[in-house]
Symmetry: D2
Subunit: 351 residues, 4 copies
């Protein structure tokens, strides 16, 4: 199937290019009679939108959402929601001088190879702007899973070599990198600013915890809950790795260390990351995503053009020097989508 | 949808429990007129089957495949293949004394929570034996993608803290851990034997490279090629992490370092791991999977029974002390399935 | 899966209520580099839109389509098309006095039973207006299959007991009922006007022929080409029956009569209707759809309200006294969607 | 997607050729903890199997089902069921003299055009034998929907020009044509025998009623309940038409006649056939299927061979002169599958 839909029973279909008419999403499978307003959606979009701080792009998209279907007198009706964000600060002409070059780290080359044509304006469909639609859809899922008692929280735990030494969830929205450690966050901001000023960028790691998921969600053997989360998270262009619970550390662990033994109070540890055999076990689900450094940098780079000639490119435009702060709400959104979908799948199993 | 199918156009549906009548798979969407024999399948199953060496379980399943449909006079007909492996060395009684206990690290607890019933015999559907069906299906995909010029090779690169220091693909099938470094492999075997003798087990990391994939495969935005690979690999019960190209190392990299610049000979580096924007770029696809230590260990462990009482459990039975050697062909199989599926998706795009 | 998507590889997801903000569709899987304009779409929408003649509803929707994504410099890019029609002549207040009653023949009762809530304004999602989105999507498919040499033509063959006695395809767009027989069409118009003036409505039969489909399309055993056409056509709220080729007449036929024998020029008859064993045979595909009389009539009818009390209802509003003329382009649209989808499925089989 | 799967949440994947190793089905999405035995399945298979009476083929397949997975201690576990029927009375050599000819009314020509290869033995995958797998899967669905209070009953209402004049459901299993009118059934048998003796065959109409479906099942707008039923029924190779409720008669009806008005006891008529707007309304669901005359007849027919030469063919072998009696349980099976699937879809909507 073509790749612009996600989810089984809570299903989204997204559309839109960075500098076309709009980006947006159709959400199908929404529980009826849920109170839902544009403000519920806007609140999450505002966390993703550009221009929030000194270390994010100054592109001035208001990212104002419009819900054009699926709501009646303030409640969802069970019919599809269309949520649309019209593009306003589109400056397609800003890209005209690089329209025939393949920007390093970008999907210019691969889109042309795949489709035989590409919309070069601001990466077109490959733009990070596409994730606004995910955040909008995720906000709907979030509203519903919160009614079910689930909370999803993502946060930056590493930028470059600066790592958080604590997990203080109360400070996440208080610092521009959305780190869970205020002290580390200050150092992260300095690192980002330094690299930006050098015409460079930097990567990082975002962690996400999902609390309140009851035991039983996940569909073995192929749609294991962690496989679906991995699919959703790895479908973000900037993510190069996904790990759950012990993650890559498990390679150096023994079975005695890794197995989460139980007593009458439940599991004594959570190396599983809340999922065993593809099914949630009632513990907090914890996973991490590796976020690559922003591909768009001011430093001139070597590349080729569509004629195969070697050229030097300098990607102008308005870009974040680090993707972590703004990918945090996107990672949360993908998690909300997966969790709501699996609540429905589990309901269907027994009915 | 229920979770026992995988793939869009090259689609498999698996069935079977460890100690039931059989495990197997229906493969739908197979290209017609491909010469295919049971030997093609058996060859891959033999790489996964138990009892291959001193460090794998002595369970004596011959894992003999039978193809019961979809072949006519030695060629595929385009109709579904049924491939079935009858269970022969099933010893369900070996599990009767632990049938009411939740084995640490196993899916006993979660299956019961999800389904309200579980087949306790050898983990039932959650058994690693389920992956034999994946290997059988993957062997069909492999046959076809090899005709397309693609090669898939996985190998162990780390067990415990022992790491391979070279990537010598010629030695993989010559050592019992399927490592890409003979010297490291000897050390790995010693480590595994030591831990096994202590009633313990150990984790590791498997790397997989896919050569020969043309630029253009992958379906943005949700079915990006790396997202589909991640889904397939993370759907293996023992895998706790997936990374592609630079993977988690990207967190500490800058954009200048990470961007794969181009010259007239192509890409100068492969931090992308062969996929950009969800679409293959023609370079080798490289990913890694973190494999947890075997959950079944001889050392007594604390757990509870279905009545909620604390008990001590010692999982007898026949188990591998390290999953890496036998998961190598399974990881290859999942990769073959994803690649063949995406060749078809790309064909459909333009026709 | 939720029910607002259709198609496998050429896939549409529709949204919108009769009197909400908009109706529209996301089309995913569009072949790249196809020249496509809003005029291509508008032309088909204009055939479905209200107010075309004296026997269609005077609701004054211009049904102006806007394509907001998936097009770059006049060509499709292979990314999703969003096509949207804003609602302009919505008069939700016209429905306020019947908002608590179940209109006979309408989905009021069933929507409330299913969703626990319903948007009563003009039937909400159950409105025939929803089919505008199908026509828009179908126009995209039509553009592509015409490049492949396929033509799709539907027409009215019966209204009430008035039947066409010829199949003159050149007159279809020249008469207000879109009949294939001008003489019959005049009688049909008189019948419709008479029933309308009596506060009544009437049913009919629409036939559709698809020329130029090569042998080989269709996916046995469940997605046979006729099964997919039947699915698409029976998903139109007004359609009560579907038959292909000989259709219900086959009941009275013998095998000798029914079998389409062959000679060197091909098939000697077409009782199959162009499809055998679920696969197109290269002959013209011919099917018929039974269209029920419009449910909205001016004559007072017995019904109950949401409190279960018996009431008399008279459905005011602006309605067509016969659905056939305007369902013709919708039936064509669904056919175009199915055919384009199956071209892609067949391409994927061999690649 | 390839076409050998059916259903969304209660999903079946079938395999097998008429004269290969086996036919069968994987059923995924089965409710756990349902008591299920091979006898439950066998009972339905025995209604479809050949050799039941003088007017069915004497092919001596016992059609013995084996359930090889998904059952533990007599109960379903929620994991996939594999049900397999090994082919025993296969006589592939009986077809060798017609292997290069296209039998009229059969899928020989279209399979070769689609796949470039065909298994000519007894129609291969296109054989009616494929429906045994559907009956097996349907028997599982039937078991579950009967627990929900639903009953599905199909029966012959017409063969040739002989029509049932009553709907006596108690006599269906008492006459060899499974008609709902004993008197008509005797005449039908005579007609069938006469045509068979003439080397000919005959068509008919089967009606199906589904009682006990609560209001609310069906997934607008594309997966309307009648669209899904039509899809399932039209996926049977012998079916040329599907109609629900008033069906094709609606063409001659007016809105006043057709609308099912309501009073406090419910609907006063059932022209809808139990479904309005794609959603069940709580009334009996009634539909009819047109069944073509058996393609295999003893009378010599004109056709061509794979070289394009004109030849005369006489299809020997063991064939039913009328498909109706044995398609009755198949139509019931497809109905059971659709209904169980939609119970699950509806459950998922609200959870």
């Amino acid at each position: 199937m073509p790749g612009n839909s996600f989810g089984h029973l809570f299903k989204i279909s997204t559309f839109g290019e960075s500098h076309g008419g709009a980006v947006g999403v159709v959400v199908d499978g929404v529980m009826p009679k849920v109170l839902l307003t544009e403000e519920d959606i806007q609140k999450q979009l505002d966390r993703r939108k550009p221009g929030q701080s000194s270390i994010t792009t100054p592109r001035a998209e208001p990212d104002k959402v419009h819900i054009l279907s699926g709501i009646f007198e303030g409640e969802t009706t069970g019919t599809p929601l269309l949520m649309i964000l019209y593009n306003e600060d589109a400056r397609p002409e800003a890209y005209s001088d690089i329209k025939d070059m393949f920007r390093p780290g970008h999907a210019d080359f691969t889109y042309l190879k795949k489709y035989g044509i590409r919309d070069h304006r601001g990466s077109g469909r490959a733009s990070g702007r596409e994730t606004a639609a995910r955040v909008a859809a995720g906000a709907v899922a979030r509203k519903i899973i919160e009614l079910r008692g689930v909370n999803v929280t993502a946060y930056t735990i590493q930028i470059g070599s600066v790592k958080c030494s604590e997990r203080n969830l109360t400070v996440i929205e208080q610092n521009p990198v959305r780190a869970c450690d205020l002290k580390a966050s200050a150092e992260m901001v300095r690192l980002i600013e330094k690299l930006r000023d050098e015409g460079n960028s930097v990567g990082g790691i975002v962690e996400c915890r999902i609390d309140g998921v009851p035991a039983g969600l996940g569909e073995p053997v192929f749609n294991k809950l962690e496989a679906e989360l991995a699919h959703g998270i790895m479908s973000l262009g900037a993510v190069k790795g996904f790990e759950i619970g012990s993650g890559f550390r498990c390679a150096e662990m023994s079975g005695i260390e890794h197995n989460d033994s139980m007593d009458r109070n439940g599991f004594r540890s959570n190396n599983a990351g809340g999922i065993v055999g593809g099914i949630s076990n009632g513990e907090t689900i914890i996973f991490r995503a590796a976020v690559k450094p922003t591909a768009s940098i001011a430093t001139p780079q070597h590349t080729i053009n569509i004629g195969g000639e070697e050229v030097v490119i300098r990607t102008e435009g308005r870009h974040d020097p680090c993707i972590c702060p703004r990918i945090v709400p996107v990672i949360e959104a993908m998690s909300c989508l997966v969790i709501e979908d699996h609540f429905k799948l589990q309901a269907a199993l027994f009915i």
